[in-house]
């Protein structure tokens, strides 16, 4: 076990009559995927450091249903959504933050018409807010002089037009931020979206994550920064495919900030 982190659970807060400022939606990847769990822990470190009054649903959280929806299974999606909305509404949740752009998009855009209306933030937006509000100071020089390139997650960027928050946050690391030739609106997908993460790709000449990794490698980075657990996995695999894992790290923005 690494450093101690404090993760309050919503049911306990509720029992004590407390209403946390924000709910951290961990998501399935953040809860179960080994790589993504580290991202959840890094984000909590930031929340702890900034003294944010937050809670998680814990065992009461269930898959948003996003992947099922993108796979075409609207039934399963709506069943999941209705279940989650019931829990969220029972706790009178107002504000949600998540490290997963897919959950972010799904809860923000697709839950409202099913009765779940919340303010939903991607963790880079929330970290940006913490820094701008003076609640979080990023002063270390861990990344000074490093070259970092940021890969836009489709469900944060094109899907929800958020390109600035992750870049604002990264600019606090003292690193050199270098854009790939395809960035923001024209960024290339990592290959995981639309339920691709859970299946073999169709026949083709190459894998999408390798093509995107090539985009990243062109910037000669020390670090590839991501804002999505699935992108992280895809690009980590891409870097391995190019046998560059000794030189290049793939890190979530939450990890970069927690470490600096």
């Amino acid at each position: 076990m690494s450093e101690e982190i404090k993760v309050p659970v919503m049911a306990d807060c509720f029992a004590q009559g407390k209403q946390p400022e924000i709910l951290f939606w961990v998501g399935s990847a953040g809860s179960f995927d080994d790589r993504a769990k580290k991202i959840s822990r890094a984000f909590v470190k930031i929340l702890n450091k900034a003294n944010v009054d937050f809670a998680v649903l814990g065992t009461e959280e269930s898959c948003t249903g996003d992947i099922a929806k993108r796979a075409g299974n609207e039934f399963l999606f709506q069943m999941q959504a209705v279940t989650n909305i019931e829990v969220l509404n029972a706790y009178e949740v107002k504000r949600i933050v998540t490290c997963d752009p897919h959950s972010f998009n799904c809860i923000k855009n697709e839950y409202p018409s099913l009765g779940g209306k919340y303010e939903v933030l991607h963790h880079t937006q929330f970290i940006d807010e913490l820094i701008k509000g003076g609640r979080l100071k990023v002063e270390g020089n861990t990344y000074k002089g490093k070259r970092i390139t940021f890969h836009d997650p489709c469900y944060l960027g094109r899907s929800n037009s958020e390109y600035d928050a992750p870049r604002n946050v990264l600019s606090n690391t003292n690193a050199d931020i270098i854009e790939m030739k395809r960035n923001k609106q024209t960024a290339l997908c990592c290959g995981a979206g639309g339920a691709q993460m859970f299946k073999e790709p169709e026949k083709g000449d190459m894998d999408i994550n390798v093509l995107r990794t090539e985009d990243a490698l062109e910037t000669k980075p020390n670090i590839i920064a991501t804002g999505c657990p699935y992108c992280n996995t895809m690009l980590t695999d891409g870097v391995k495919n190019k046998e560059k894992e000794a030189e290049i790290e793939v890190l979530d923005i939450a990890e970069l900030i927690a470490n600096s």
Binding site: T59, S161, E202
Partner: protein, 444 residues
Amino acid sequence: MKYIPNILFLLLFIGAIVFFATNVKKLIRNINLGLDVDRTDQKKVRISNVIRIALGQSKMVTRPIAGFLHIIVYVGFILINLELLEIIIDGVFGTHRVFFPLGGLYNYLIGSFEVLAFLVLVTVIIFWIRRNALNIKRFATLKGWSKKDGNNILYFEIVLMLLFLTMNAADYQLQVLGAEHYAKADGVAGAFPISSWLIHPLLENLSQGTLIILERTVWWLHIVGILTFLNYLYYSKHLHILLAFPNVYFANLNPNGQLDNLEAVTKEVQLMMDPDADPYAAPEENTEEEPAKFGASDVTDLNWVQLLNAYTCTECGRCTSSCPANLTGKQLSPRKIMMDTRDRLEEVGKNIDANNGEFVDDGKQLLGDYITKEELWACTTCNACVEVCPVEISPLSIIMDMRRYLVMEESAAPTELNNMMSNIENNGAPWPYNQMDRLNWVNE
């Protein structure tokens, strides 16, 4: 006898308009085969999008060279068509340059039309080279009719512009020679900054009689050409000249990432989750709707905006050249999704025409006969195609509706996805982990 040309012109003109109107009616009928969807909200935003994206072509210039060239042809095309008004009036009443009394302004207008025509001519030649000689992938992959169609319009433009300039040159020379009907008492009608050096030198030695024949011939060819062009549109990707405007107006205004929630499913889910509902209750008698079909297997399961999208598609291939699946050699091409939808819709329309207004099952559908499962499953829902489309088309929405059909009507998802979905159903996560372990990450 004297009025024969006028009558001939009028007949030709009316005939062309009637034929065009018949096709427009067919077009509207076909689009209305789609399901209903409400796109009447936020009128101000919609109008400003039309001005910015359709009229202002703001999404074209993200590829600066092609975008800039396209704007030249587009502006040229629209402005030169102002001259059409004069041509039509002259045609009907047998007048000559009826707007000449505008004086200096008239010369200024005709002069700028000539410059524009010349710019269009040059640009169209560049387009032809790009399309045919430069091996640009999004053009090189076009085959059959689509490839011809792309070039046809370029030839059309070249011929029309040359006719326009020749007509002016011959007309000018006739005015100089003082030919009856052409010459004006008070100077020359029009200014000819381009045709005077490009074409005029070739005509200087021709007799007045030859010139009149030439002028009349190109005048007729030009107007016939324009009326043909108008009627060619319906069969061409160039329908976007007209449809880009309504298409942008009715485009989806929600965030790109937001997929609609199927209302029919919501009803069923509510019923399933409602503890008071009697699961064995007989379905209500006489419900006016037939049981909803989930997702789309044919064009008539798509909504009318998706069908309008299909007719509007310019086949430019920007979507396909941005598509991660296509870039890595997968079968999926969002442009093909749009072209297939249009082809199938045309087929359904022709079927209806041939069978007195009733569609007779032809044993075909969009899914399988046009668009394969393999294409549909290759999509990452990344929205690159939607973002880049200059006329606000969403190939992704069609892909998603067809996936919905595959999964909800045919249970035909790839096995790995079925496993993923049963995990979600059983333990609330796409992997086989226990929901009770959801908090374990805290202590690892």
